[in-house]
């Protein structure tokens, strides 16, 4: 008997009901309904073109495409051959394309990845960036033309795929060259979805509405994979379009009777602000709007309910999930239909000793939302600084052991060994357990989450340091909380070397970071020479500079 894989489950849905809709793919041109059977047929066509280009079992194929249905056909077409697809971000219109492609060289050289699927239209001169590497770029335009003309040979018979084979890669944050490819097996993905769907009561009758990009774990797993594996329906829209018109998500929920949507914290505020007075939607079909990917704030839920509380949703609709690519997705989840628990913690005890103490009346307090109970099969430990179990009333690093952990980081065995110790994955997140529920407080390292996307401060500093006009090594990057936006904002402070005017330098730094990382720095300050604070070890201190920056900002505002 054939062992269960992601594709075999999709084949099962198509066979059971050939007319079943898999995805309503919204673009500026309209909405295209793609059935499960259509998906397989179109993926088969792409698989033929891929095989003709030399792609075979276990070859990685990087998919860099805009929000169009070919995204899905390319991804599942590679999977059909037993190859390993990986979505990666498409450059924004304002990004420098030459820099975008050259930044992929390091990743390709490190990992030996040989295949890229993209558009001819954005790849002018692409080969120059990959000279000396055995890289083949495939163009969607050519494949579609070949398929229309009937010149694409049929795909070879499907190879036998074992459940432990890697199904796809999910790339982490960082400059492209330093991105970590999280390897996820068919078995891990299917186990995660079986368990997670069980907790949510998610099944074939559900409709997920999403604006999330597919290179991000929330879009890829909670929307695309959850739908495909369970036989549900996905309504997806372009992230760029959604940012411009956030209420289009509500339009789609109302029109298609959406039952689930996933949003990073900032998105709750962005949608709530966009609604015009008197505008109303019927959101009564929703079973859960899940806040995930960046610290979840009670204020975001409050603002959302203030705007849409009379549209058929209540506090029990707004839920929280704690997830990461290394575990495929969810580690813990609150219970749909029930209001999310929260705790008011004493700020001083938390900040000075990482101690979890309920705030007494009159004390400074911080309200923290629960991320729910660990999924069945997931064990959670809170570690102290020495790697042992932290005392029950202390916060510490969250470590997890589950039956759906990643296979490792692609071509990074040392990093895999550092993060996966005795079957436990050390998340780098700080948190604690209370009454069986997990609470997440922040990060232990310099990871900053901006609009739900992850960036490392040291990466940003490296990119900024490479700009002309900056005193060597005199740069610091950190994030500050923006209550207004419901996310964190990226700040860079830099000391000039005197060769460039401050306004020009700020523009150059913002442009460089945007081109290389796709991140818009919200604040770039050119500060006087020798004003950045160094730690006792002689390194520029992120913590101290951040604290001083916050004090100065508070003083000015």
């Amino acid at each position: 008997m054939q062992q269960r894989t992601i594709l075999s489950t999709i084949e099962g849905h198509a066979a059971a009901d050939p007319a079943r809709v898999f995805c309503r793919f919204q673009t500026g041109a309209g909405t295209e309904a793609i059935g499960y059977a259509d998906l397989l047929r179109r993926a088969e066509g792409f698989a033929g073109a891929f095989a003709a280009a030399g792609i075979g079992r276990q070859d990685t194929v990087i998919v860099i495409l805009q929000h169009r249905p070919e995204l899905l056909y390319g991804f599942f077409g590679a999977m059909r051959l037993g190859a390993v697809p990986a979505f990666m971000p498409f450059p924004s219109p304002k990004q420098d394309h030459a820099l975008f492609w050259s930044s992929h060289r390091k990743l390709l050289a490190l990992t030996g990845i040989r295949f890229i699927l993209t558009y001819r239209a954005i790849a002018a001169g692409i080969d120059e960036h990959f000279t000396g590497l055995d890289v083949r770029v495939l163009y969607v335009e050519d494949i579609l033309e070949g398929l229309a003309a009937g010149t694409v040979p049929p795909a070879p018979p499907a190879p036998a795929i074992a459940p432990e084979d890697v199904a796809f890669l999910q790339h982490s944050s960082g400059t492209t060259g330093l991105k970590k490819g999280v390897m996820l097996s068919h078995a891990a993905v299917l186990r995660q979805i079986d368990r997670y769907a069980g907790v949510l009561g998610f099944g074939p009758g559900d409709v997920v509405v999403s604006w999330l990009p597919l290179y991000h774990d929330m879009g890829l797993i909670s929307c695309l994979m959850m739908t495909a594996v369970t036989g549900a329906e996905l309504v997806c829209m372009d992230a760029f379009e959604w940012v411009r018109r956030p209420t289009m998500l509500l339009d789609a929920i109302e029109q298609h009777r959406g039952t689930f949507a996933y949003l990073p914290n900032f998105a709750f505020l962005h949608i709530a602000r966009a609604a015009r007075p008197g505008q109303r939607w019927d959101l009564g079909s929703l079973r859960a709007l899940v806040n995930c990917s960046e610290p979840c704030k009670p204020q975001s839920f409050d603002a959302f309910l203030a705007a849409f509380g009379d549209c058929g949703i209540g506090r029990g609709t707004l839920q929280v999930c704690y997830a990461m690519a290394e575990n495929v997705f969810a580690v813990s989840q609150t219970t749909p239909g029930q209001p999310v628990a929260s705790l008011d913690l004493d700020v001083e005890a938390l900040e000075s000793e990482a101690r979890i103490v309920p705030a007494a009346p009159g004390r400074d307090s911080r309200q923290v939302l629960s991320c729910g109970r660990p999924l069945p099969g997931a064990e959670v430990r809170i570690l102290d600084g020495a790697g042992g179990d932290a005392a029950p009333d202390l916060a510490g690093q969250i470590a997890i052991r589950t039956d759906c952990l990643f296979t490792g980081y692609n071509h990074l065995p040392e990093l895999t060994a550092e993060k996966l110790v005795d079957g436990w994955y050390r998340t780098g997140d700080l948190g604690f357990l209370h009454a069986g529920e997990l609470y997440v407080l922040g990060r232990q390292d310099d990871l900053m989450i901006v609009y739900g996307r992850n960036y490392y401060a040291h990466n940003i500093e490296e990119v900024v340091t490479a700009c002309d006009g900056i005193a060597p090594g005199r740069v610091v990057a950190f994030a500050v909380e923006s209550r207004q936006m419901g996310t964190r904002e990226a700040v860079v402070l830099l000391e000039p070397d005197g060769t460039r005017e401050a306004a020009e330098l700020r523009r150059a730094v913002k442009a460089r970071v945007f081109d290389v990382l796709g991140l818009t720095l919200q604040h770039v300050e050119v500060v006087p020479r020798n004003s950045l604070v160094k730690s006792t070890a002689g390194k520029i201190s992120r913590d101290q500079n951040r604290r001083r920056y916050m004090e100065e900002r508070a003083g000015n505002g």
């Binding site: 219109p93 940012v243 411009r244 018109r245 956030p246 900032f266 962005h270 602000r273 966009a274 015009r276 609009y451 923006s482 207004q484 936006m485 904002e489 306004a503 700020r506 523009r507 913002k510 442009a511 818009t520 919200q522 604040h523 770039v524 505002g557």
Partner: protein
């Protein structure tokens, strides 16, 4: 005149959305010159301008502007068309 009024409205909206002093905004100001101006706050700014003036700005153009001057021209055109 209409241009000057459009400029004033746009500068006020920028001030409110991005929490900066509107007096620091000129036609030559770019998003890179103003702290906090990113794609999400830009869309908030567009919504704020539309709300203030009761106009609709063309989606294809309003996210592809070089500076505040071009935004003001777009606003002025939308107002005269309306």
């Amino acid at each position: 005149m209409a241009d000057e009024e459009s400029f004033r409205e746009v500068a006020q909206a920028i001030g409110e959305t991005l929490m900066v002093d509107p007096a620091t905004i000129t036609r030559a100001t770019t998003a890179d010159d103003v702290n906090g101006w990113d794609s999400v706050t830009h869309s908030m700014l567009v919504m704020e301008i539309e709300r203030r003036l009761g106009i609709q700005l063309p989606m294809d153009k309003v996210f592809d502007l070089a500076d505040v001057g071009e935004l003001v021209d777009l606003v002025a055109a939308a107002r005269s068309a309306g």
